[in-house]
């Protein structure tokens, strides 16, 4: 089984400690949400796990091999990565952007293998992009683009997915659509590590919450175990009301702590 593990990872950049002794793991079949204020080190943690940042201490390992030593192509067959910034340099067609998810499998745009074609059309169906497939990405709304990027990620058919704020700046309907897609990916056997800013959303879809603050993990556990007003006060510095009924969790921020 594929496993992605950060073991006491520390990152120092120019004398500043960005991450300190962070231990976290991800396996197929679970949705882990990372929560924390800006500057808590969430993105740095994901980048270390993707082998994009060298660690100063500890180790980030993919199937017990140091992440920065895994060849990008091998890694891309195991983990899909949705970075926070997703600039598209050219106004490509939607179907071509999704097909880039097959890059590690040797796909060249315009001449996909039958297996690649199937994976791409699966991803396009799942993300409800059929009507947009031939459109230029330059003509899409933010919500539609988010679906295109998500489709690109799942077209890789990897056992793991690492996503940095996949629902940021989306309207409520698109937030729900993307989070449903995430949940579906995990229910089909995938493992997802996702940075989220919406605490309610995270509590509703995640199996496990990782609370980060000042470059360290403050707490970790299921939503029921860890989602308390005290936790939100400690991590985010705000007063919050937490509701939990048959519709799921509800978090209402009431003001500064």
């Amino acid at each position: 089984m594929t496993s992605l593990i950060a073991n006491k990872v520390s990152i120092d950049v120019a004398g500043a400690s960005i991450l300190r002794d962070v231990t976290v793991s991800l396996q197929p079949g679970e949705l882990v949400a990372i929560l924390g204020p800006n500057g808590a080190g969430k993105t740095s943690l994901l980048r270390a796990l993707m082998g994009l940042t060298k660690t100063s201490g500890g180790s980030a390992e993919l199937n017990r091999v140091a992440c920065h030593k895994v060849a990008p192509q091998d890694r891309a067959k195991l983990i899909s990565y949705l970075p926070q910034r997703r600039p598209l340099a050219w106004p490509n067609r939607v179907i071509d952007v999704v097909a880039l998810g097959r890059f590690a499998h040797g796909a060249a745009l315009g001449q996909l293998s039958p297996e690649d074609t199937l994976a791409v059309s699966d991803a396009i169906n799942t993300c409800d992009l059929n009507k947009l497939a031939e459109r230029s990405t330059a003509t899409l709304s933010g919500g539609e683009l988010a679906r295109v990027h998500f489709a690109r990620a799942i077209a890789s058919k990897t056992p793991l997915l690492v996503a940095d704020e996949p629902v940021a700046e989306l309207d409520p309907r698109h937030q729900v659509r993307i989070s449903d897609l995430l949940r579906k990916y995990v229910d089909n056997g995938g493992g997802a590590l996702v940075v989220l800013h919406d605490i309610t959303l995270a509590a509703r879809i995640a199996d496990r919450l990782v609370w980060m603050k000042n470059g360290s993990i403050f707490a970790e556990g299921t939503p029921i175990e860890t989602l308390t007003s005290q936790m939100i006060k400690d991590v985010f510095g705000v007063q919050a009301y937490i509701g939990n009924d048959k519709h799921g969790f509800d978090v209402r921020i009431e003001g500064a702590a």
């Binding site: 050219w90 952007v97 060249a108």
Partner: protein, 329 residues
């Protein structure tokens, strides 16, 4: 139009344009006479004119245009910016400087390979510096400004060399060469640069899938499995070899690398990989036609190809820059 049809169309255009270029000259020949001369079915005089004067000139224009078109397309893919181009980024200027330096000190007399080696070394220094800068600065605009600076600095050093030229003959030699031209090139001149040209083309062709991946930005491109380091080195090497070889053959010719990919892109769904070959073919076609134009224009002394290319290309550069969407940073 699929990209295969586009390539076929452009290739046919290039062949027709080369034949057309061969009909022009002090004695004009019709197509059948040109074809007869190509296949040795004509008078020896015709054969000499075609094989030693007209065909090498047209072929040089094609090769240089193709090299600049391909390296423009590749650099644009790597830097994710339609304004990146060997001329704008100072690669051509640095290659010219390095070659002029070799000419100035008379190094080129000792071996015919020294001129291409010097100009390729110059091109590689420039592309290497740009790639190193690209790793450190995230803004592509900054990178292009660095290229403009590099270009100005090379131009300044070049002026210095011209200023210090030992005699009027070497001065006019250098100037002729700086303006860029494919007149009076022989098949031998072409053969000397071909090994560098072909190696450069092969390297660029290998990087093409990586160029598509870079559409997503460097971070996501790495995420889908691209080795960024290898990609950068390969594109720099490929673009340096082709641009340097083209400077060695024809001197400094600018803006082809920006115009050709720009025109091609809508036909290949804006995919950098699929724009590589048609950009090369269109670059070649544009230069063959521009060179025909140079020969047809009734000017007192023949215009230099590089001058025409810049007069057409620079406004196109401004137009493309002004039209860019602001979201591209």
């Amino acid at each position: 139009m699929t990209s295969r049809q586009l390539n076929l169309f452009l290739l046919t255009g290039c062949i027709v344009a080369i034949l057309a270029a061969c009909t022009l000259g002090s004695t004009s020949m019709d197509f059948s006479r040109v074809l007869a001369a190509f296949f040795g079915q004509s008078s020896p005089a015709d054969s000499v004119v075609i094989w030693q004067i007209r065909f090498p000139r047209a072929l040089s224009a094609f090769i240089v245009g193709a090299a600049l078109g391909a390296s423009g397309a590749a650099l644009q893919g790597l830097l994710r910016n339609p304004l990146a181009e060997p001329g704008v980024l100072g690669v051509t200027a640095t290659a010219s400087l390095s070659a002029t330096f070799a000419l100035y000190y008379g190094f080129v007399a000792s071996s015919p390979f020294l001129l291409p080696i010097y100009s390729i070394a110059g091109a590689l220094i420039a592309t290497g510096l740009l790639a190193a800068a690209a790793i450190r600065v995230s803004s592509v605009v900054t990178l292009i400004l660095i290229g403009v600076g590099l270009s100005s600095f090379s131009a300044a050093l070049m002026s210095l060399l011209l200023n210090l030229a030992p005699n009027p003959f070497s001065l006019s030699d250098m100037i002729n060469w700086l303006l860029g031209s494919v007149a009076n090139r022989s098949l031998n001149d072409i053969l000397i640069v071909m090994p560098f040209m072909i190696t450069g083309f092969i390297i660029l062709f290998i990087t093409r899938r990586g160029l598509s991946a870079l559409t997503l930005g460097e971070e996501a491109a790495s995420g889908i499995g691209l080795n960024l380091r290898h990609q950068r080195i390969a594109v720099v090497l490929g673009a340096g070899l082709t641009t340097g070889a083209s400077v060695a053959l024809a001197g400094a010719i600018g803006f082809i690398g920006i115009v050709a990919p720009h025109l091609v892109r809508p036909f290949v769904h804006y995919d950098p990989a699929r724009s590589l070959i048609p950009s090369a073919l269109l670059g070649g076609l544009i230069l063959i036609i521009a060179d025909i134009g140079v020969r047809l224009l009734p000017t007192i002394s023949e215009l230099k190809l590089g001058v025409i290319a810049s007069i057409i290309g620079a406004p196109a550069f401004i137009w493309i820059a002004a039209k860019r969407r602001l979201t591209h940073d």
